[in-house]
């Protein structure tokens, strides 16, 4: 009884101290302990499974180096421009296809079936068209994010409540006003969802292109660490990369209100 009382008081003082949180901490600790045991057991190459302090030092070095932030900025820049180009063209295509049933029947199957193809195979073509510089990486990002955004916007356009459209028409809104005041606000969630999916694939497209042929960007840092067999640095870069990618995805979902939809 006294124990349960103490537990309740502790939980009141620390509301995050739930069984789920404790289990999560236990899982993380177990993984770290297993990793460390693997590293010091001598069963694996120490370069392939480095000890945790070695990875921590590599992570600290990476995060305190100006070179890393410069390369991160290059990648963010390429992804941002790619997302802007692919996003705007995807939005325009989705609006046109979503608003017209005939065009949807004629062209949407091409978008639908081209969407899941591996976009990295277009990289040789992008190099020929845009050169070996940032242009090809931006193009890879744009091509990657175009399809999910266009398909989501087209689907969102078809789901708009007809009452809202009739309200706009009864106010004699012109096409621009209809787009700004009716269509886009009504399609906020499909657009944000498309943007979230588009961001994910744009990150992958751009970074893979950087690993294939580049002398700057995070993808280049990953492949550079691989060619120098600097495994702790590679682990550090991948950890940062995954945290940034998952964080960016969660931020887009949060600010777009997608997490609220899921809670409902």
């Amino acid at each position: 009884m006294a124990d349960s009382g103490r537990l309740t008081r502790a939980r009141d003082a620390m509301p995050w101290l739930t069984p789920v949180a404790l289990l999560r901490v236990a899982i993380v600790l177990a993984v770290l302990v297993i990793w460390q045991l693997m590293a010091i057991s001598g069963w694996f190459y120490s370069d392939v499974v480095p000890a945790l302090p070695v990875i921590a030092v590599a992570l600290a070095k990476l995060l305190s180096s100006g070179d890393f932030y410069w390369n991160l900025w290059v990648t963010i820049d390429e992804i941002g421009i790619g997302l802007l180009i692919g996003g705007l063209s995807g939005l325009a295509t989705g609006l046109v296809i979503g608003a017209n049933t005939f065009l949807a029947k004629a062209f949407e199957p091409y978008l639908y079936y081209l969407g899941p193809t591996p976009k990295i195979i277009f990289f040789p073509v992008m190099i020929m068209w845009f050169g070996v510089g940032a242009g090809a990486k931006v193009a890879m990002g744009a091509v990657s994010c175009f399809f999910p955004i266009a398909l989501n916007v087209a689907a969102g356009m078809r789901q708009i409540d007809q009452v809202l459209i009739r309200v706009g028409q009864s106010f004699r809104a012109n096409p621009w006003q209809m787009a700004i005041k009716i269509y886009l606000p009504a399609m906020r969630h499909p657009i944000i969802n498309g943007l979230r999916l588009g961001l994910g694939v744009a990150v992958i497209g751009t970074l893979l292109a950087e690993t294939k042929m580049s002398n700057r960007g995070i993808g280049f840092l990953v492949i550079q660490a691989y060619s120098m067999f600097d495994m702790p640095r590679m682990y550090a870069i991948l950890i940062v990369l995954f945290v940034v990618a998952i964080g960016a995805n969660a931020l887009v979902a949060h600010f777009g209100g997608l997490d609220q939809i899921k809670q409902k």
């Binding site: 789920v20 004629a106 091409y110 899941p116 992958i204 970074l207 691989y226 991948l238 995805n249």
Partner: protein, 257 residues
């Protein structure tokens, strides 16, 4: 013209317009290249690309490469089906684990795991195993999430029927939960297989090893432009056929539900 004929005609007009537009675009590109407005050393003539299909298929041993890519996809597919469904069932059976780990699995789905391919190269070497393991890891999350979703959506009335027959937990799972969740689990497996195919071809291209992905890389490095474009078209065709087939299977399974 009867109403049925009019309806059939109306149904076929949009796809035909779409197809005709694609042919027109290709014809326009052909003309623009021939008059010199598009550089033929950057974009090859569509007619040359079409003509090079036969050469690429025969000279580059496309059948063997296709079978290798298909085998890698199949191996990754079997792995992610067995492991993904098992993990999904485990998380469904132990609610505390589910609460703790489901968000992590969802986060894993949004992480660019394919970027860890240099790490996999170090661990597994430049072999099919690297490609299979990466495809497996990349396709795992949707299978786990959809398995949990399918099992959780089992109708209460079915569970109660099982209880009224005093089924053992194993019988309850195999006779009630699993058949009820199967269509949703298949949706997850289909998504996982699509991710696996994307990653298999992508990694083959990146590490220049294996089947169809390597073919594109090799042709591009030889600066065989029509061949590169033809190989890209072939990969697109394969992924479209794969996507359409799995989609049909999913529809059939959902309808059977």
């Amino acid at each position: 013209m009867s109403a049925a004929t009019r309806l059939t005609t109306r149904r076929w007009v949009p796809p035909l317009v779409g197809l005709a537009s694609m042919v027109l675009i290709l014809a326009a590109v052909e003309i623009l290249i021939r008059v010199g407005l598009i550089n033929r050393y950057i974009v090859p003539l569509p007619s040359k690309v079409l003509a090079s299909f036969g050469r690429v298929i025969v000279e580059e041993d496309v059948l063997h490469r296709f079978l290798l890519t298909a085998w890698e996809c199949l191996a990754a597919g079997v792995l992610l089906t067995v492991c993904g469904v098992a993990i999904g069932v485990l998380l469904h059976r132990v609610p505390l684990f589910r609460l703790a780990c489901e968000t992590w699995v969802a986060a894993m789905a949004s992480a660019p795991l394919v970027l860890a391919y240099p790490l996999f190269l170090v661990i597994f070497g430049r072999s099919s195993l690297t490609i299979i393991m990466l495809a497996f890891i990349a396709g795992l999350a949707p299978v786990i999430l959809k398995t949990i979703e399918g099992l959780s959506a089992t109708r209460r009335v079915l569970i109660n029927v099982g209880r009224s027959f005093k089924l053992t937990p194993a019988q309850q799972f195999w006779k009630i939960y699993f058949p009820s969740a199967l269509p949703t689990i298949f949706v997850g497996i289909r998504l996982g297989l699509i991710f696996a195919l994307i990653n298999v071809v992508g990694v083959e291209f990146l590490i220049n090893f294996g089947g169809l992905g390597q073919l594109i890389n090799e042709l591009a490095e030889r600066y065989d432009l029509p061949g590169t474009y033809a190989a890209i078209c072939f990969v697109i065709l394969v992924s479209v056929v794969f996507f359409a087939t799995t989609e049909r299977a999913e529809r059939w399974l959902t309808a059977a539900d």
